[in-house]
Symmetry: C2
Subunit: 299 residues, 2 copies
């Protein structure tokens, strides 16, 4: 466990540095009236975040000895989608959040119009990165990566989950509906990150069953842990406002299961996630460490 | 000229029916909490609009005898991007418009959060459509279509132009800056539509020079005509609020050139656009008719 924690700490720091450097190069501020747009994208994309999705791309790609530059490009695209979704989710009309990753949200640091456009631009940039020949010389790999990401982020995935979430405050959601909501809202992009690593590794859909099982359980565990942190965490460590769901009377894993059952469920899902990796040797230790981290993190 | 008008009228009606049918099938309302999201997407995407970008895809693809179903898929993706951009542009934080295509804007008919998400979902859907094998059996064609669209809609294209437009009310823009702004904001997607037809037709980048020249001049002519309509048009026919730019004191082709020179410039650009098609025979008559329509339309 101690070794796994050290390994994960190093990996998270490496990934954070790599993703920051990629965004820094991609988002050079132009000397024209788009400067505020680029500064807003940099504000949101650089310096902050757990970089969990990029780490999953790297860790899965490493199972198949994928070239690190290719994995980094795909990881950056995934994170661009995640960052765009955070910018839009934080808007006054959505979750109306003032702080994110310990900094003012984009619409607070800039303005709402710039925040909407910065999100839209990061959204487009993600697909631009994936479609470029540098990402992978074989176009069918690029096309598959793009389909993976578009499905995971669109109305059947992340954005669809967010739309369900809007209804969660008024609707009378049961555990099945909340599970489906969270599988779409958070789980889809986490699964896409793991699948992207496998696509880069040229693993066909059949060969991805165990990895998909891992991602599925990890995604749900991650969300339950997030609900627990929202209820019990420290706002300074989290870098954002907490306890909003409880105040809004929203159905979540926590309101439906209670703290004790939620914590037990989270631990069980992590065990299941790790169990899905039983066919892999030490090369999957990083993926195992990620699963353990999900329950142990404090932000 | 009369024949061209009849031909164009038929073509516009056919394209409108085709695009409506495609969106109708794509956006079937699910029996779950995402129903309002899908209804919002349908509200924006079905029944309205000139469908100029889809028409350009069809008309260009027809030059190279591209399969009609493939052209229709790509045309729908292009229009999905256009529709998403209109939903976001109309938001209170952006242009704050209440009417679009003769109907309430999405945030008026639904709410702001749903409008933001409906735009994001149409954005993702566009790339999902292009990445699917049905769009073209050859993955390098799909990857090229995606790169074309992502570049045209991101920070170097449409969204970047929109960001410049936000600065146009406060900045002291000259004719060069306004031209660049409009080439990005409107021109990039019009060019992408024509390029997409050529990509489907397996025309290499060198072979697209004349078509790109046509699209470039058409895009600028279209924007000048839009400025003229904004100043002189009828709000009922336009289906949206007019004369907002003049009221906001924004630099446009019209404020910089005046009505007479703007009209002359628009006519000259249309002539140039048509001249770029000189190497094509009657198979390019529809593209020629589109160029003429740009100056003659009343909405």
């Amino acid at each position: 466990m101690a070794t796994a924690t050290v390994m994960l700490g190093d990996a998270l720091a490496d990934v954070a540095a790599e993703i920051d450097a990629r965004f820094d190069a991609l988002l050079e501020v132009p000397d024209d009236p788009r400067a505020p747009l680029y500064r807003a994208m940099r504000h949101a994309a650089i310096g902050g975040g757990k970089r969990l999705r990029p780490l999953l791309v790297f860790a899965t790609a490493a199972l198949f000895n994928v070239d690190k530059d290719r994995a980094a490009r795909v990881a950056t695209a995934l994170e661009a989608i995640h960052v765009y979704s955070l910018i839009h989710d934080d808007l006054p009309a959505m979750d109306d959040d003032d702080m994110r990753r310990g900094k003012p949200t984009v619409h607070k640091a800039f303005d709402e119009a710039t925040a909407i456009l910065a999100g839209d631009c990061l959204h487009a940039l993600a697909f631009e990165i994936l479609a470029e020949p540098d990402t992978h010389p074989e176009p069918h790999v690029r096309a598959e990566l793009i389909l993976d990401l578009a499905r995971a982020s669109g109305p059947s995935g992340m954005a669809g989950g967010q739309a369900m979430d809007l209804e969660a405050e008024t609707g009378d959601f049961d555990l099945n509906t909340v599970t489906r909501l969270q599988q779409m809202k958070t789980g889809a992009l986490i699964t896409a990150a793991v699948e992207a690593g496998a696509i880069l590794g040229r693993v066909g859909p059949e060969g991805r069953t165990h990895l998909r099982g891992y991602a599925h359980d990890l995604g749900l565990a991650f969300q339950i842990a997030d609900d627990l942190l929202d209820a019990e965490g420290d706002e300074t460590v989290a870098g954002k406002k907490l306890r909003k769901d409880g105040d809004a009377g929203k159905a979540t894993f926590l309101t439906l299961l209670g703290v004790e059952r939620a914590r037990a469920q989270c631990g069980m899902l992590v065990d299941q996630a790790v169990e899905h990796l039983r066919h892999y040797g030490p090369e999957a230790d990083l993926l195992r460490a990620v699963a353990r981290y999900v329950v142990e993190r404090d932000h």
